[in-house]
Symmetry: none
Subunit: 253 residues, 2 copies
DNA sequence: CTTGACCTTGACGTTGCGTCAAGGTTTATA
DNA sequence: TATAAACCTTGACGCAACGTCAAGGTCAAG
């Protein structure tokens, strides 16, 4: 039985790129190479790939796997013991993080509204302590490496469907604003439509809708430069003002 | 109060490089830049850095932190809820990994000596499932055939003490070889001592010792390039050959 | 003989910085 | 005041484990 990269890849559930990478780092070489330069794998390589994937499944890094499989003296038990220590350390850090997050959440829930000073107090103390210890930095850096990829945190804890709708709404608001800027009247029909969209969007964040609050938010859009900058950047100069006027007209109605 | 990169870095416990990186990705810009091009930070930046580090400590990635601090629409609570979910998921996976590792270790400790077949059973099942989804019976059969003879993972089940001794022995062998290379006679006293060490070491792997088998292994050290490379790398060029000769002399005696 | 699926080798992107390297600036000390 | 030490700058490479084009060669099928 001989396999090309794709055949072996499909068989084992890894990509062709992965196999070429394993070849590159000398972790798994093809049994031979065809005249055309194709990598061809035999049963031996299938076996070795299985072992590689077995250890990878346990979270062992490729270098260690290589040593494990190549060094005839390598003690798998010791490697696993060491690996377990790493996993335990990781979990410990995770638990610490979780504690922190939960505590912060609890403070938010309880409306504790701690001041920034208070909020960062414990954190600052921790930083100082870390600085005193020589390995503080190292530990933090390790943590940085472990940091969860939170690039999808934009989903904001909504269900998928909810998020999709929120996303659609905010995009439509921006688009409508872009189109309406300088052409439409904020107090006109299009302005009203935009304000309505904005209201819908709002309901996903506020438990209760009120015209007063809506109007208050609209005012903030022009008063707080962070909001202003956001809308002006997304939809063009004057977008925040337009939106504020549209909502004002809508809310007064 | 104004700070240069190092001053602010020391204050907050981050490196200058980190601050320059944060500048680069527009996460934290200096308040102004001196004529000489030095970055200078003010109190506002200190506050922002605190917030950045606060969220970083929670494991949030820098892009998300940026959005969090820059976008007025960002809901910190929702973000944290979402983040907590990710942390929980990660911990769950860690626990699974730990379970796997612990089980494998337990098998080693208990001397259960599970067959490779069994060892890879769970793994195999997973692969088979994946293959079935993709290709159905045909692939499963092929895979099954390959899987059955996936039998060469050598996990040596020793106790901790045993391993320590094995480790000590192998290190002493390497050291002795390094020292003896080119100076001592493989058939001499030192060669004999090394061969003896090697024999001791062997007993931890082989249930029954025999001179023939020992000699056979020694031959393999020069015949199998993996072994040769290992010894020559660890103890110097010619180490495998020296060891082979020493064992040969020892075994013939 | 032409698709289309598959193969190859680069080479860049990802994350969050660490770590030189080469060269300019500021500060402390002799 | 000269000079060394400490600090600053901008590149640019490296890290883990691949994903993802891009440009071009190969192979089995219609």
């Amino acid at each position: 039985m001989e396999y090309t990269v794709k055949q072996l890849g499909d068989l084992a559930g890894v990509s062709g790129r992965t196999l070429r990478y394993y070849d590159q780092i000398d972790l798994l070489k093809p049994a031979w190479v065809s005249e055309a330069g194709y990598r061809l794998y035999g049963p031996e390589e299938v076996k070795r790939l299985q072992q590689i994937l077995f250890y990878r499944e346990l979270g062992v890094d490729l270098q260690t796997i290589k040593e494990l499989l190549d060094s005839p003296h390598f003690n798998a038990k010791q490697a696993l013991l060491q690996h377990r220590e790493q996993l335990l350390a990781k979990r410990k850090q995770l638990d610490l993080l979780l504690q922190n997050v939960e505590q912060t959440l609890a403070e938010l829930e309880g409306g504790t509204r701690m001041s920034d000073k208070e909020r960062f107090k414990g954190f600052k103390e921790k930083l100082i302590k870390e600085n005193e210890e020589k390995y503080g930095k190292e530990a933090r850096q390790r943590w940085g490496d472990e940091a969860v990829d939170a690039s999808n945190a934009k989903l904001m804890g909504l269900t998928e469907e909810e998020y999709a709708e929120v996303d659609r709404l905010s995009k439509e608001i921006i688009q409508s604003l872009t189109a309406a800027l300088g052409k439409e009247d904020p107090a006109g029909a299009e302005g009203r439509r935009i304000a309505e969209l904005h209201r819908k969007w709002l309901t996903y964040f506020w438990p209760h809708y009120s015209k007063e609050a809506h109007l208050g938010l609209a005012e903030m859009y022009v008063a707080d430069e962070r909001f202003t900058a956001y809308y002006d950047e997304q939809a063009g100069q004057g977008a925040a003002q337009f939106l504020r006027d549209a909502i004002a007209a809508y809310a007064q109605n």
